[in-house]
């Protein structure tokens, strides 16, 4: 079995290409066998591929499951009674949501890994934290939506926490001002979803012509750029605009998904998303799922050593991206660095039925 205690002690960006390849192949092979023997659905899929789980030469060869499968099936590799937490993706009403089943071990490893990765950016000390969201998303503690899970996950870095938005998504200015006064002169962690930060935080501050002093703030945000791209806001423009209204200098985007919570990809000082030793991204060509060259756009596959209670260690996402380089980012972190270009397009499908394409929106 995977020895998590040992591997989670590794510094998160410490392995170069060949060492990381060896490490991931070993760990992911163990996990593939574990899921093969413990999740009947996974086994059927692997058999359909004609893949031999006892002879894995590279983790790149392990068949990937499309993330959409977690919306249609309950996939577990542990007895159901061991499940302590079920995470769900945020979906709009009527959409199916992914269900990710966590046992105690996987859940705890997710938190530990997140701490390892994030503290390498913000330091090990816990900080006062401003969540740019409403506390209402946490109300149903049994069903963790991706939004709620993100907030709770990152809250381990908080020693005091406020929610910047009320239930009507209005900015709580008074609360913010008080909080900032209380922690004047200290580093402050800000966390939220990219679009909500823009819509309810930046726009509001701009509209009120209010300037907060967050020059000691560290912001971590995620959730994708789709809506901001529609408003023609670039990542650089986003940072600049935020700096303008609150003086913040350290703004980090992250890429992550509920199907692989814990192994997040955080943006470095050079603006690149980095994969840690605990996970990796592989860009796949749509023509044959072959591995794309550096610089070539394709579908993003994500692998993670954490998923043990559910077969989510090797997944094909519905995002597209580009590998920029490996081991040689000027920031000094080892591993691949990449960027996300967007969701895979909803192709204009011809045919008789009007609504087919809508199913995947």
């Amino acid at each position: 079995m995977v020895n998590y205690e040992e591997i989670l002690n590794m510094p998160p960006y410490s392995l170069d290409k060949s060492k990381k390849h060896e490490f991931l192949t070993e760990q992911l092979s163990i996990l593939t066998r574990h899921h093969y023997y413990n999740c009947p659905e996974y086994r059927k899929i692997i058999d359909a591929f004609g893949f031999d789980v006892n002879c894995i030469k590279s983790y790149c060869d392990i068949p990937f499951l499309p993330v959409r499968l977690f919306k249609e099936y309950d996939l577990l590799s542990v007895p159901r009674e061991d499940v302590v937490k079920t995470m769900t993706s945020s979906g709009t009403t009527g959409q199916k949501v992914s269900k990710i089943y966590l046992d105690k071990e996987t859940s705890s490893n997710q938190t530990k890994t997140l701490v390892k990765i994030v503290s390498s950016y913000i330091g090990a000390k816990r900080l006062p934290m401003i969540v740019i969201d409403t506390s209402a998303v946490l109300k149903d503690r049994n069903m963790f939506s991706a939004r709620g899970a993100g907030i709770l996950g990152f809250s381990v870095f908080a020693r005091d926490r406020i929610f910047a938005l009320d239930e009507n998504m209005e900015l709580d200015i008074d609360g913010l001002v008080q909080f900032l006064r209380k922690y004047e002169g200290e580093d402050i962690l800000l966390f939220g979803f990219t679009y909500m930060i823009w819509q309810h935080f930046y726009n509001k501050l701009k509209e009120l012509d209010l300037s907060l002093d967050l020059s000691r703030g560290v912001m971590i945000h995620g959730g994708g750029w789709k809506k901001l791209q529609e408003h023609a806001i670039s990542p650089a423009g986003f940072k600049e605009a935020l700096h303008h209204v609150c003086g913040i200098n350290r703004v980090y985007d992250y890429y992550g998904m509920v199907e692989q919570t814990g192994t997040v990809y955080i943006e470095c000082e050079c603006g690149h998303l980095h994969s840690s030793v605990f996970s990796d991204v592989i860009i796949r060509r749509s023509s044959d799922f072959g591995i794309a060259e550096t610089g070539e756009k394709g579908i993003i596959e994500v692998v993670s050593v954490l998923p043990k209670s559910y077969p989510g260690h090797v997944l094909l996402t519905e995002d597209e991206g580009i590998i920029i380089g490996e081991d040689d980012c000027p920031c000094g972190r080892k591993g691949k660095y990449f960027r996300i270009t967007g969701r895979i397009n909803n192709a204009e499908i011809r045919g008789c039925s009007d609504t087919y394409a809508d199913r995947f929106k």
Binding site: E41, K44, I45, D47, A48, F49, G50, F64, L65, P66, R68, L69, E72, Y73, S286, S287, D288, F289, G290, G298, I299, L316, E318, E320, I344, N345, N346, A347, E348, I349, R350, G351, C352, S353, D354, T355, Y356, A357, F360
Partner: protein, 408 residues
């Protein structure tokens, strides 16, 4: 009842009101004025060189040629005696087959009806090309009578307009599949009016391996198969998704290799797999493996041709329909096992190596609720006045019959 006409864009319209169209005097099937109008439309469409860029428009224009209509007419000689149009037809065209609205209108006109045709709110160049041609033929002065028979309109999804036109018409023709049908049906039609609906359907292809191997023209078959499938992203109702091989194991293995190699070679030059399609195909494989299993993924040709071989035929196999080149393959020694799964969802059966009459008899003698069309591979998308199990001419017209009393 009045509606806000500002919501409606008129693409072809003579200026008479919808109520006036309701009172148009219906015609006999294949009336001279209709045939002459359609053949003028055909000439108009074929005249323009730029239309060559739209093969589906050329196909439509060929369908409307006088010679073709005359030959169709021969199949309806009895109808011309005692059938007459029902009055006003209201057509709701699908949003993803650009030329479909024109065929629907042709069926409405040939059966003797005035037609209000709602085209998709998605702008297709093909729609404009055909509407412009219709307008130019109508304004030539030679087809004035047809003006009051045709209104082509566009409006965004709007219950008010749909309800108004639905209440007005004698027959409503709904394309666009199950969810469009249930949406439109929220607007009632008049008590004597009815719907002709084109629901989501499933189609299959049956191939006798030995006969396939013997015919030898593999490239031509591959091209035909491509036209049935990839040409419409394998998302037309008539595109086969289940491929059934009949024969000995040896013949089938040989035939499959040759067949798919040829299909792949042709598709490679003409079809690009989008990322979403690649993911859809992979998802379909996983669903089949979990639900049907054991299955085998034959992916010798990258993601262009995705083949999932199964060794039992579950009744809900149509649930694993995936567009863009995803095929479920099943092999057997005869067609018997198919009788257990075919229901009213099944539309077209394309074939290689069979006598169509033999297949028709098989459908009839087994009392199947599905399979309306049995056509050779390559002909699945060809428009016909008999479609989806409806004879459109006979359905869109009414029968007037008279009985001779005994002499007094």
């Amino acid at each position: 009842m009045q509606i806000d006409l500002n919501k409606v864009e008129f693409l072809c319209h003579s200026g008479i009101s919808f109520e006036e169209m309701k009172n148009v005097k219906p015609l006999r099937p294949f009336a001279d004025e209709v045939v002459s109008f359609l053949s003028a439309l055909s000439q108009e469409l074929l005249r323009s060189k730029t239309n060559k860029a739209y093969p589906e428009i050329i196909t439509f224009a060929f369908y409307c040629r006088k010679a073709n209509l005359e030959s169709e007419k021969k199949k309806y000689l009895d109808c011309m005696e005692n059938h007459i149009g029902r009055g006003l037809t209201f057509h709701i065209a699908p949003s993803n087959v650009p030329v479909n609205f024109a065929y629907s209108m042709v069926a409405g006109l040939l059966s003797g009806n005035a037609c209000i045709v709602r085209v998709s709110s998605k702008p297709f160049p093909q729609t404009d090309v055909i509407c412009n041609a219709i307008n130019s033929v109508l304004s030539s002065g030679e087809h004035d009578k047809m003006k009051e028979f045709i209104s082509i309109i566009r409006y965004e999804r709007d219950v008010e307009v749909t309800s108004y036109l639905s209440a007005l018409c004698n027959v409503r023709i709904i394309w666009g599949g199950d969810s469009t049908i249930s949406e439109i049906r929220k607007s009632p039609v008049a008590p004597r009016a009815f719907d002709v609906t084109f629901a989501d359907r499933y189609s299959i292809c049956v191939i006798k391996a030995k006969e396939y191997l013997a015919q030898g023209n593999y490239q031509k078959v591959a091209h035909d198969f491509y036209n049935d499938t990839y040409l419409f992203d394998q998302n037309a109702c008539s595109s086969p998704h289940l491929i059934v091989w009949i024969g000995t194991d040896d013949d089938i293995a040989k035939a499959k290799d040759i067949f798919w190699d040829a299909v792949y070679t042709f598709a490679k030059q003409n079809y690009k797999v989008e990322a979403i399609t690649a993911v859809d195909k992979l998802t379909t494989l996983c669903r089949c493996a979990i639900d049907i299993g054991p299955v085998k993924w034959e992916r010798m040709h990258g993601n262009l041709v995705s083949r999932i071989s199964i060794n039992r035929l579950p009744s809900e196999i149509y649930e694993y329909r995936c567009p863009g080149g995803s095929f479920i393959e099943y092999s057997d020694v005869n067609l018997d096992s198919l009788t257990g799964i075919i229901n009213d969802k099944y539309q077209t059966m394309t074939y290689i190596g069979y006598e169509p009459e033999e297949l028709k008899k098989w459908v009839m003698s087994n009392g199947l609720q599905g399979i309306d069309r049995i056509v050779p591979v390559g002909k699945s998308a060809d428009f016909s006045l008999i479609w989806d199990g409806y004879d459109l001419i006979r359905n869109l017209s009414r029968v007037c019959y008279s009985v001779q009393g005994k002499p007094i």
